[in-house]
Symmetry: C2
Subunit: 260 residues, 2 copies
């Protein structure tokens, strides 16, 4: 089967299943349980808020299609984007572990998604420690991205932050087969990039222009192409500690021993 690197399995499977299958063989029961999480499928238009901030309920969102953001808005309107949500992201499995949601989830493009209730995930945990470990692993990846984001926003300048953001998104999309040939579609306004990086939209515009003039990237509309991946990664200080997700051997062993 000729598939994009790392992508295995039936394209009719929901993106979460396809994502996990890259790393582990799922039993039919597990596949069914995961697929059931994604029902019923809902749709929303761009800019719709899927889940508001400050709500007490613990519903999570499983994104099938499109882009969304997790963000927090301060009382005076300043906004920080926590991260971007792309297809296959369960966003976030642990949210119902806390009494209040401290952020909102908003669609960037039109999206297809499912609402996941706490009981569904808790039942999954109770019935399969294997799936529990996998969900935990997804959670660990999310936290990993969050840490890198914090480092970028806290200690990097505008050029480095934007280089990092572009690399991160390219890298995440590559991992699910949504980036071809060093280029990808980033359906976010510069306003959104600003809120993600902690900059102003004006400065994002200037910096992107600079990057294009320097031959780092090329862009038209929302299509970005990475012209010099090495330099981009050096700018973003991406090293061997920041790579495509990978299931550690110890966890792989554990999964093969666990009851299914």
């Amino acid at each position: 089967m000729a598939e994009p690197a790392g992508i295995v399995g039936n394209p009719d499977d929901p993106p979460l299943v396809r994502k996990l299958r890259q790393f582990v063989t799922l039993t039919p029961g597990e596949t069914a349980a995961l697929a059931a999480l994604g029902q019923p499928l809902r749709t929303a238009r761009a800019r719709t808020t899927l889940l508001p901030q400050g709500q007490t309920s613990g519903t999570a969102v499983l994104l099938h299609d499109g882009w969304a953001i997790r963000h927090r808005t301060l009382v005076d309107g300043r906004r920080q984007i926590i991260d971007f949500v792309v297809p296959g992201d369960l966003c976030d499995p642990s949210s119902f572990m806390l009494p209040h949601r401290d952020f909102a989830i908003t669609a960037v493009t039109s999206v297809r998604f499912a609402l996941v209730e706490p009981a569904d995930v808790l039942a999954l945990l109770r019935d399969s420690t294997r799936l529990g470990a996998l969900l935990w692993w997804l959670e660990a990846q999310e936290e990993y991205i969050l840490r890198a984001h914090l480092v970028a926003v806290g200690r990097m300048n505008a050029l480095e932050r934007i280089a990092y953001l572009i690399w991160e998104l390219w890298s995440r999309l590559s991992a699910v087969g949504l980036a071809k040939d060093n280029s990808f579609i980033l359906p976010a306004t510069q306003d959104l990039l600003a809120d993600a990086t902690g900059l102003s939209h004006v400065h994002v515009s200037r910096t992107l222009g600079q990057m294009a003039r320097d031959g780092l990237i090329q862009r038209q509309d929302h299509h970005y192409r990475l012209l010099d991946l090495q330099r981009l990664m050096r700018l973003a200080q991406v090293d061997r500690t920041a790579r495509r997700p990978q299931l550690p051997a110890t966890v792989r062993e554990h999964l093969s021993q666990a009851r299914r």
Copy 2:
């Protein structure tokens, strides 16, 4: 028993057990399993690196006593503190879910701690979905703190960031009984506060001075007292979505049904 609010149980129990007992009743078996995680107890002097950055192993740290930081250092020496680690923190249970550690753990004071091996935690997960859910909940809290930290660093000014940091630390220490009467000991140099907030140590000094002059806080050496908690929380934009940790009812129910 007259105990500080929220603190229950035998002071001889390891701090992780005491922390969890605030929220759930542990069986003797669970207590023993958790206590076993904390063995053997090691000690390290201030400024010692407990676990370096970039290592491939997945060992985690369970802190019993003292303060530590999780931080990432860039190639040119710029450093971002991810968060502070206080007694009872399992830091972090998910680290062995990723192939490389992207941050270092360094003692701030002299510390007592245990190294936790992946196999130990994975065995815990396999044997008790209850403990698995609790560990996941701790993880969710960690991520919650991380998100708030990102918002502060990305979208708040120096005064607000430092107000937030002080509130966060006070609030976490209160939750484990280490802050009495609106005051606490913060054994961090201003250099560390700078690396946590993404500021320079000079500006941290100025801002802390300002806060003291404004009657927000009082400090001598590393002893901080919050003089106007309301104003501090307003500055830090701490609202009902940012409160003392709490186990949601759905999770509590789940735990009571799960096999022990």
